[in-house]
Symmetry: C2
């Protein structure tokens, strides 16, 4: 649980907080739904700036006005306050646009404009257009400044009791030293997809790095089971500026492990793996111990396996829909 | 495939039409997404009438103006043209409201106002408020007039080859004599949920009626796997007035059948059951042979079982989201 949430809500003798499953989803999928709600619709149109690429007259993401403002008058960018659009004008293909974006971001990093750029990763994320063409690549830590869609893989690894069929879920705790969501619970394996990498190859790589899982086993047994999609509004736990918008697509995989296969931390990102019953996982979720988007992946797992149903979850219909938010930007 | 679609698109020597999976979803989930699209948003606000219940100031469905108009000046209803709202004013609990709705509908049926009422079923559907309270019940055939959310169950029954693990899907063809979608392909079992019935009990009943499946087998093996939700715009194939809006929630179940269990038509709704490979099912889907909402349930099945993936489906992300549309009305 984040310290700022605790501070805000529980004064002295903190009782155990309890999050409903719908509240867990709202933590991850926090951007309001416009649909037929005029106030939410107008707030959206009047508050944010759209990011566009010249010659492509549709939004690729929403940016905070305070962020868009920083690009005013800088080379390669054009800011239209009437239309509330920031347009990348430099470049005419993915490589030249990517170079222009990198130049701008390196300058902003040098001047210390944005806290998120202090966590420069040296990893590139891909931004796509309506024809699923690559428009440009952007440094991973900068993607929330632009509000563009990012892509990742999440794996649920589980075992099934030979007699009862009861499911147990492998649940890692993130290292306390990790900059983001330190000490929180995670999915067995998760990671971002770099530009040019396929989801499945990304998964295989992360399975080795994060959980020491054998490549052949993963290739044979990991099953693609869909996506979860949501629109995250960054809070303190993510580090850096808050309020940045982060629409995300997570390709979701299930991996039923034999009883004798035990995931082990393969790098310093994970502290320990627990093999927990569904009840133990649900208790930890209700206490807010999971990283928000990992709780969402667990909920999707519980729905698909008939554990979370309309019979035991009051908000079942709303939850299943919000696990799969339709993002209004082009996606791969 | 509907005759009107064929007529519209293929003149004389009809080549085999081919629908993409995204096109199949759009046939079922046809109501536009407002989100950030001003034209779609304004069309929605300026075109339809909202259905409301007195004391509950939020929409329960969208109605065509031509339908709302018919309620002008009738007892129990109030039509506000400025706000574009039709309000049920009679009754102060579910029973009294339901009685008022029935009285109005019986009068409209007697005067032959709406074609959809010619298929009066004598089955009641439930309409819920924001606190998930029952607001009123409405005759099934009338629900598309009001545009309210309806609920059903759909079951995918399949077998798995003992050696290869290959999935085959039990696929019934609807009787050609059926008033709606006659001769089209369906899911193994499907049906609407009557007011007061639980999804699972509805499923068990339909499994016996439509597929002669043993109750004990269904109770033991059928697994809840989530929902599909969509916003259907009725066309000629549904019968009656076109353009009526029908937001639907389908509770989805999987049932892996032993090789020796063969579904058999239990009533006159199904002509024949086929046991088809995934490829055969996909071919029939591409030819438009499936009832639209059944194609959607098949797509959800293929996604959850790792058959339809980002590696073989260009529109994968969009498809998974649209299988789970968030409906903007209260749901159970």
């Amino acid at each position: 649980m984040s310290s700022h949430l605790q501070t805000a809500i529980t004064p002295l003798h903190a009782p155990t907080m309890s999050f409903t499953n719908l509240a867990l989803i709202s933590q991850c999928d926090g951007f309001p739904y416009a649909d037929s709600d005029p106030s939410a619709y107008l707030a959206r149109v009047n508050t944010y700036y759209q990011l566009r690429v010249a010659g492509h007259d549709y939004p690729l993401g929403y940016m905070l006005p305070s962020v868009a403002e920083v690009f005013r008058g800088t080379p390669a960018w054009e800011l239209d306050d009437d239309e509330r659009v920031l347009t990348l004008t430099a470049g005419d293909d993915a490589d030249s646009r990517s170079a222009a974006v990198e130049t701008s971001l390196l300058a902003l990093r040098a001047t210390g404009h944005f806290q998120v750029l202090n966590k420069w990763r040296g990893e590139l994320y891909a931004v796509y257009g309506r024809d699923k063409e690559l428009l440009f690549r952007v440094e991973r830590s900068a993607s929330p400044l632009f509000g563009v869609v990012t892509y990742g893989v999440h794996l649920s690894a589980y075992t099934r009791d030979a007699e009862t069929g009861a499911i147990k879920i492998w649940t890692p705790r993130r290292a306390k030293t990790k900059q983001t969501y330190g000490g929180m619970l995670d999915n067995a394996v998760a990671g971002g997809i770099a530009a040019g990498e396929s989801p499945f190859e990304s998964l295989v790589r992360e399975c080795a790095e994060e959980a020491s899982l054998d490549e052949a086993l993963v290739r044979e047994r990991a099953t693609a089971v869909g996506t979860v999609t949501y629109w995250y509004v960054r809070d303190e736990r993510a580090g850096g500026e808050t309020g940045l918008l982060q629409p995300e697509v997570q390709y979701v995989y299930d991996l039923e492990l034999p009883a004798d296969v035990v995931p082990k931390p393969g790098d310093d990102e994970v502290e320990e793996f627990y093999l927990w019953s569904v009840e133990e996982v649900q208790e930890a979720m209700a206490k807010g111990e999971f990283k928000p988007n990992c709780a969402v992946v667990v909920l999707d797992f519980l729905v698909r396996h008939g554990i979370l149903t309309e019979a035991n979850e009051r908000d079942f219909i709303e939850i299943v829909s919000r696990l799969h938010r339709r993002l209004e930007f082009p996606t791969l």
